[in-house]
Amino acid sequence: MSVSIAAIGMDDSLKIYASVGIKVVIVNDVSEVDKKIFSLSKDGCKIIYVTDHIYKNISEVLEKYAYKAYPIILPLPLDNKNEGIGMKKIEANVEKAIGINIFG
């Protein structure tokens, strides 16, 4: 089964990702992200990269897909603004799993 990858962000600097076959979705407001993720997931999109800014504002949406294997929603500094959300997520996972952050 062939599937696609998508990237969701809020400005057009994301368009570069279209050059490697990643579907770029640009939203004007964080509230649109839920619908976009739903429609992307319905279209068979299995990996969705979102910008750090969007990721920290969509906790309810993430909760919805947390227990499913797909789609995989990941924070990445796609728009040149690295807020360190990804690293914090790794540290939170380590703390959740072993009770102490060994990378901190």
């Binding site: 089964m1 062939s2 599937v3 696609s4 990858i5 600097s13 368009k15 570069i16 990702y17 279209a18 050059s19 490697v20 076959g21 990643i22 299995k46 990996i47 990269y49 947390a66 227990y67 294997a69 797909y70 995989i72 990941l74 990445l76 500094p77 796609l78 728009d79 040149n80 690295n82 990804g86 690293m87 997520k89 790794i90 996972n93 380590v94 959740k96 799993a97 072993i98 009770g99 990378f103």
Partner: protein
């Protein structure tokens, strides 16, 4: 306490002893499961951290190159240049089981070479750099997605298992042991009362009959 609710009978004692044996076996199994999940989690999280550090710094380079390209060239020309992908990512998605947790398994099928699909005459070289760097990152991006999701799911499951292990170790097993102790004491007490009653009865009968 649960102690008050149990009926002090031999049948209940046998049932509780069986339950205690099962709880101890379950505790050992869950503890082993937790240890194995933590072992696998540690391998994955290290790789996850490596990949993320690498990808985040590369993406910043890609974005910086693209910003330069945007400054040097017309926006429309750039949009036209990146309209046709230089590489199509085709991935096969499957799932695998780690200690009974279904995690995603992704495989990149397409490993065709990158074909720059625009003319070099009107586009800046920074755009080529950005696209080539991004193309070299695609495999890692997919691997990161797979590993990070596996880590998320494992972390949640490890936390759940740890709670279960603790509940069995510190609540269920002590409660069962306390109940078993209570029933044993109560049965011994009943037995003693019975013996005393018999001894008393014997004494009364003996006194009556003048022995």
């Amino acid at each position: 306490m649960a102690t008050r609710l149990v009926s002090p009978t031999r049948m209940e004692l046998t049932r509780l002893k069986k339950e205690l044996a099962t709880a101890k076996r379950g505790h050992k199994l869950l503890k082993d499961k937790q240890d194995e999940m933590v072992r696998q989690f540690m391998d994955l999280i290290r790789r996850n951290r490596e990949l993320r550090t690498e990808i985040e710094s590369s993406l910043l380079d890609v974005n910086a190159s693209f910003e330069y390209a945007k400054l040097k060239s017309n926006n429309l020309v750039l949009q036209e240049a990146i309209m046709v992908p230089s590489k199509d990512i085709v991935i096969e998605c499957d799932s695998k089981s780690i200690m009974n947790i279904v995690v995603p398994k992704l495989n990149i099928v397409d490993s065709k070479e990158t074909n720059i699909t625009y003319s070099f005459a009107h586009t800046p070289s920074e755009l080529d750099d950005a696209i080539l760097e991004l193309t070299s990152l695609t495999n890692k991006l997919v691997e990161l997605a797979q590993i990070e999701k596996s880590c998320d799911m494992l972390a949640v499951e490890i936390e759940k298992t740890r709670r279960r292990v603790n509940a069995i170790e510190f609540v269920l097993i002590p409660d069962l042991e306390e109940n078993i102790h209570f029933i044993t004491l109560k049965l011994e007490d009943n037995e003693r009362s019975n013996i005393i009653r018999l001894m008393k009865s014997k004494e009364i009968i003996a006194a009556k009959n003048g022995y």
